[in-house]
């Protein structure tokens, strides 16, 4: 059967997501948020989710809808604070002890996800040594410098925003949209990409930024 990863809707793309899933969601700095898929996940209503997302809430992202709907049990992120004076839905639930938080340095966050998709169980990094974010973690000295043992992150599902896709699942990204998309797609059992447009022709090999090998489903989401 010819390979064809196109699906008709975000709802169809997420039809088999279960309660308790670990969901990796791309987006940083205002670019690359998979907001159409986030809303579809909200509609799907799977509960007890663990979100792995750079910002727990961001003014251009819709993760707060999942949080407000009470679907999220834990968030792994590098940023859990809003710039608003008002506390976010995340902050309210976190202060009330109703949602767990794991705060991770952003580069360690990216590398833990990369490791998850690259068959590496754990790695040593100098980042975080001597800080409270390394509390309880194994420390080992290499070349006279202290390193912290960090474990890979894998997901059940990745929600990635990209610019174009072809039916093989190959992706291109616009500008800073790429951020966590590639590593998150690699680290998840099911990688779903929402794109501005799905192309009829294959993307030329030297334009592909994420090979379709790492992508399971693509859905056209428009602008």
């Amino acid at each position: 059967m010819p390979i064809d990863k196109r699906v008709n809707s975000a709802a169809e793309a997420l039809a088999d997501v279960s309660d308790g899933a670990t969901v990796l969601i791309s987006g940083f700095g205002g670019a690359g948020f998979a907001n159409v898929l986030i809303r579809a996940l909200c509609d799907r209503g799977a509960k007890n989710l663990t979100l792995v997302v750079n910002s727990a809430t961001h003014r251009y992202s819709l993760t707060h809808e999942l949080i407000e709907a009470g679907l999220v049990r834990k968030i792994v992120c590098s940023a859990a604070r809003s710039h608003n004076a008002e506390p976010t839905p995340f902050e309210r639930l976190w202060v009330a002890g109703k949602i767990d938080l794991e705060c991770v340095p952003q580069g360690t966050f990216a590398e833990r996800i990369r490791a998850g998709g690259a068959g590496i169980a754990a790695f040593y990094t100098p980042v975080g040594f001597g800080t409270e974010l390394a509390g309880g973690k194994e420390v080992r000295c290499f070349d006279g410098r202290e390193h912290v043992l960090e474990q890979a992150i894998k997901g059940d599902l990745a929600l990635v925003r990209a610019d174009t896709a072809d039916r093989y699942g190959n992706l291109t990204f616009r500008y800073a949209q790429i951020n966590f998309g590639p590593v998150m797609a690699m680290a998840a059992k099911l990688a779903v990409a929402e794109v501005r447009t799905v192309l009829d022709a294959p993307i030329p090999h030297d334009r592909v930024q994420l090979p379709g090998v790492f992508v399971d489903r693509v859905v056209a989401a428009g602008k």
């Binding site: 205002g30 590098s78 705060c103 952003q106 990216a110 980042v127 409270e132 616009r174 800073a176």
Partner: protein, 229 residues
């Protein structure tokens, strides 16, 4: 004591004087971002942003905004000639791997041994935000800090030991404040420049760590720059 401290833009101007031609530079949010505005035309640098942009240009004019072209602070930017954009794992490999020459960060506290506290003020009911601060502080080849010499409450930010949660240990090499330029060395904090109308005793009184004055300590001067409200 009537001392006229530098304003934030003047401190950024002063730090920009030390950016050398050809450097790869990462600028933290807040005061450090202004350093880019005061680089001379003879200095050709690549500004790296943690979100993977290598070669951040000026902010985009309102008629040329592209919502996908942003820096780590969600600012709508342009690219400089020769720019490229990579994904987050590659961006942090660049940072952690020592390929960024200098990062200029804001800070709450810097200790005499170079310990940096700049990520968590322990605000009640606010979630933590570490972002790329720890990666930059550990990975960049040089870590410089721009900050006000004292807190709004009048307590020193240069201290013997940080009281706030650490970002990284023994990482800060140089601090630009509104009063002085200070190098953090194995022998402690060395004052390289200080406001002309200030005495050593006055600077010591505003500092929580032991200061050594360099034999060639110069006056800290900057041109007048209006600080927008």
């Amino acid at each position: 004591m009537t001392v006229q401290p530098l304003n934030r833009l003047q401190a950024a101007w002063r730090a920009a004087r030390d950016i050398a031609d050809g450097m790869v530079v990462n600028l933290g949010l807040g005061m450090p971002l202004h350093v880019a505005d005061y680089l001379g035309p003879e200095v050709d640098v690549f500004i790296q942003s943690e979100n993977g942009v290598i070669g951040v240009g000026p902010l985009a004019p309102t008629d040329r905004i592209d919502t996908d072209l942003v820096d780590a602070g969600s600012r709508r930017i342009t690219l400089r000639p020769g720019a490229s954009i990579v994904d987050s794992s590659w961006s942090f490999a660049m940072i952690r791997g020592g390929h960024v020459d200098v990062t200029i960060l804001g800070a709450f506290e810097v200790a005499a041994n170079g310990d940096l506290a700049n990520w968590d003020m322990r605000l009640p009911n606010k979630g933590p935000l570490v972002g790329g601060a720890m990666d930059l502080a550990v990975g960049a080849r040089a870590v410089w800090v721009i900050m006000e010499h004292m807190t709004r409450k009048g307590t020193p930010r240069l201290v013997e030991t940080c009281t706030l949660p650490l970002t990284a240990v023994r990482c800060v090499k140089r601090v630009y404040t509104d009063l002085a330029v200070i190098e953090v060395t194995h022998d402690g904090m060395v004052v390289r420049e200080m406001l002309d109308d200030m005495t050593e005793a006055e600077l010591r009184a505003r500092t929580g760590a032991t200061l050594v004055f360099a034999p060639d300590c110069r006056p800290l001067v900057a041109p007048p720059i209006a600080q927008p409200e």
